[in-house]
């Protein structure tokens, strides 16, 4: 299925809900897009229009809808409609996927020394959080805020999927996809990846609260006991989740909406 101007899925739906659901996002939205496609094929369509943010990367253009275009679409929604954001979300991966030549670690609030990996340099939590904070409130945050300001619709922001515990999986992906110098740096520890992801998750919750957006955490069913993404939800790269994860997300979103509609009634 080709993604055109975003509303292609809505156009084909067989079941029409009494609200509109619009999704706007970057690469993490791909999991939901694939899930919606699968549902369509199974004749269980989804009341969702998925817009991939249009970005110019060098010569290449990725995505179908500019922020300005999406803001205009969202402006026309009503308060019973939904806007779902999957904008950005990879600050944690930039900071903590490749093993830094000077290994580092952070101590989270409430954690004791034992969670500090021996032989690493401590970066104070608030020092590294200031970088993620800046990233969240930069381009991605401004986009969220712009959409929030434009629409009366209920708005969710999907927290990006948590890290994958399997370092070998990530390493083999690096080795096959990137230059030797990235591959030879190796992969940071799963614990560090999780700490930095959690930091981003917490900062996103804070920012969403400020904007009046509901932050939507990863589905519990997709996580192992320590909160890592279960292998059956891995996309074939270091940071993304797959179609099955998208299916879970859609299911939970729909349940959340139904539950809150019921509680209103």
């Amino acid at each position: 299925m080709q993604r055109l101007a975003g509303l292609n899925l809505i156009g084909k739906r067989q079941f029409v809900a009494d609200y509109q659901m619009l999704l706007y996002g970057d690469s993490h939205s791909e999991a939901v897009f694939q899930a919606a496609e699968l549902r369509e094929r199974r004749r269980y369509p989804t009341s969702i229009a998925i817009h991939r943010a249009r970005r110019q990367k060098g010569e290449k253009v990725i995505g179908d809808t500019s922020l300005e275009e999406f803001v205009e679409i969202a402006r026309g929604l009503s308060s019973s409609d939904m806007v779902i954001s999957m904008i950005g979300g990879n600050q944690h991966a930039v900071l903590a996927t490749i093993q830094h030549p000077i290994p580092f670690d952070v101590l989270e609030p409430g954690a004791d020394f034992s969670s500090l990996r021996p032989g690493t340099e401590l970066i104070p939590y608030r020092a590294i959080a200031s970088i993620i904070h800046g990233g969240i409130r930069g381009r991605d945050g401004r986009a969220l805020s712009k959409i929030r300001d434009a629409t009366p619709a209920r708005m969710f922001h999907i927290i990006p999927p948590p890290p994958k515990r399997d370092s070998d999986f990530i390493r083999s992906y690096h080795e096959s996809r990137f230059s030797e110098d990235i591959a030879k740096l190796g992969v940071s520890s799963p614990e560090l990846r999780m700490k930095i992801w959690r930091m981003q998750r917490n900062l996103l919750h804070e920012y969403c609260d400020e904007l009046g957006i509901e932050a939507f955490d990863p589905p519990q069913a997709a996580l192992d006991q320590d909160g890592f993404l279960l292998p059956e939800y891995y996309a074939k790269d270091a940071t993304h989740a797959n179609r099955n994860y998208g299916l879970l997300l859609l299911q939970e979103l729909e349940q959340r909406i139904v539950r809150s509609n019921e509680s209103v009634q």
């Binding site: 990879n90 609030p109 020092a127």
Partner: protein, 357 residues
Amino acid sequence: MTSNPYKALPDKAFWRRTVASPAPGEVDPVGEFGLTIRPETKVATAGSCFAQHIARYLKNSGYNYYIAETGHPHLSEPALQANNYGLYSARYGNIYTARQLRQLIERAYGRFSPSESCWQEAEDKYLDPFRPTAQPGGFVSRAELEADRAQHLAAVRSMFETLDVFVFTLGLTECWRSKVDGAVFPLCPGVEGGKFDPETHEFYNQDVDDVLEDLTVVRGAICEVNPDAEIILTVSPVPLMATAEPGANVLSATTYSKSVLRVAAETMRKRHSNVHYFPSYEIISGAFNRGGYYADDLRNVVETGVSHVMGLFMKHVTAGVAASQPPAKCSDAKAELMRKAQEMVEVECDEVALDRE
């Protein structure tokens, strides 16, 4: 006319010739300065807030401003600055008194462990009483504070053991200390954190003997781990913000404080061949500039004053040897790694659509 000892003295010995007559910007109160810094000389700094100007100039001069506690390369330059890395050679914040410097070295080498070692301000905000402003927002836990302190004190040890020149700017004699073990705080508890408790905290105003003893211990400790180290002492020209000396006026208290520090610095210079004095205090507070080097608050130093100090510092200390390299761009390597990490994630993000099932 009979001869007298003054006849043979150079112009710098005469007030009219060297202070009153020259244009203010030409006044050079440096007497003797027997130390030369070369571009490769590792110069570390510490001291009261005026020392930040010295650090800033050295950093931009192309000379080897030595930062032992650099902060992790993952932190961007703005993040490093915002978190006070590079403000001084280690992340100790302002060191106002000789006692504070002495205790820093003693703490670094495990010879002193103050009993009041952590101020909890909130559930997730812990301050180090000996550098309460070093980490903006504080540390998130006591464990983090202690881990960062251990890392910090290791950097302090490394700094003292490997520096070539240590520039220390003496700022104050007045301090607040623990009645329990004499630990001196950079700021009165209750100002930037902690709680003032008259049962456990007390005011103390150092005299010349105190400062001399502290500086002597500091010098001894540095020489013990680094026998070739040279020390430059300066006195901050910045007046006291407030005095806690009972019954004192802040202007008189400032004069007392600076006089004690100046005497102690001069005594150290005369006693030890590896201690030098640079007259930052005289350049800024000298009557020749008619107060022009102070801002409207008569306390902060304006940039022309700082330039005068640092121009003379570079002239005398570098003996005219220009730095051959522009300031080192240590950020290049880290920028490259971040670029690769970003590229890795972006390529993934671009290609995720290719992996459709």
